[in-house]
Symmetry: C2
Subunit: 108 residues, 2 copies
Amino acid sequence: MLPMSFESPDRDRIDLSLVLHALSDPQRRGIVAELARSEEPRPCGSFAPNITKSTRTHHFRVLREAGLVEQWKEGTSKMSRLRREDVDARFPGLLDSVLAAPIGAGRL
Amino acid sequence: MLPMSFESPDRDRIDLSLVLHALSDPQRRGIVAELARSEEPRPCGSFAPNITKSTRTHHFRVLREAGLVEQWKEGTSKMSRLRREDVDARFPGLLDSVLAAPIGAGRL
DNA sequence: CCCTTAGTACGACGGTCAACGTACCACAAA
DNA sequence: TTTGTGGTACGTTGACCGTCGTACTAAGGG
C-alpha cells in the first residue's frame, strides 16, 4: 500500500532549474544518454550497474520529477522512457546539445 | 596582496557538469541572461541587486570557474563578460536553448 | 508455499550549496 | 589623509545532495 509514485510534471510545467540540475550529474546524464540511444523502454535496473539499487532509485526520482523521464510498471519491473518530445517542445535544442557534448566533458 | 583570482578554464576544458550546475541556479541564469543581452562588459555590482555583495561574489566565482564568464579588473571595479564563443564552440546550442527558455520556467 | 527478482522506504554519513554578516583590502576622489 | 566605493575572505547556518546499507514490498516462477 505504498505510494510507488510515477508523478512527473506535464509539459508546460517542466522547470528549467530542475532539468539543468538533473542533467548536471554525470551518472544521471549517462542514464539519459543511454535512454536516448535506445528508444526502447528498459527496466531501471539495466542502467548504471556500478551504483547501488537505492542510489539508482534516487536518480530516477530526480529525473522523473524534473520531467525528463516517464515511468510505469510492467510486470515486476519499472520501465523508463525519455520524454523527448515534451522536453524538446519546452526547451528546444537543449537535450540535443547536452547529448551531443563531448565525452569526458564532465562525464565523470 | 590577496589572490583576487581570475582563473577560468580554457575552452577545451570546460566541464559540462559545472556548466549545467552553474546554470541550474535562477539567480546565476539571470546574470548570464543579462550578460548576454548587453554585450557590453559591466561591473559585477550592477547585477542581481536583490542579493548581498558576498553572495554575488560567490555566484560570479561559480560562473567563472565553470567557464561561463571571464573577469578582469578595471579601475576599482571588476568587469565581467560572457564567454559566448567559447561555450558555443564547446557545447553548440546549449546557451541559446537555455537563454531562449520561457520566463518562469525555473526563474526563481 | 517458498524463493527469487526488481524496486522502494528509511535512516545515516560526509560533502556541498546558497545565503548572510562582518571584517578587510584596493583604489580613487575629496 | 580621510572618506567613500566595489569587491574579496572567512566563518556560519540551514538545507540539500549523492551514496550507501538494511529492511521492506510486490509480483512471478518453481
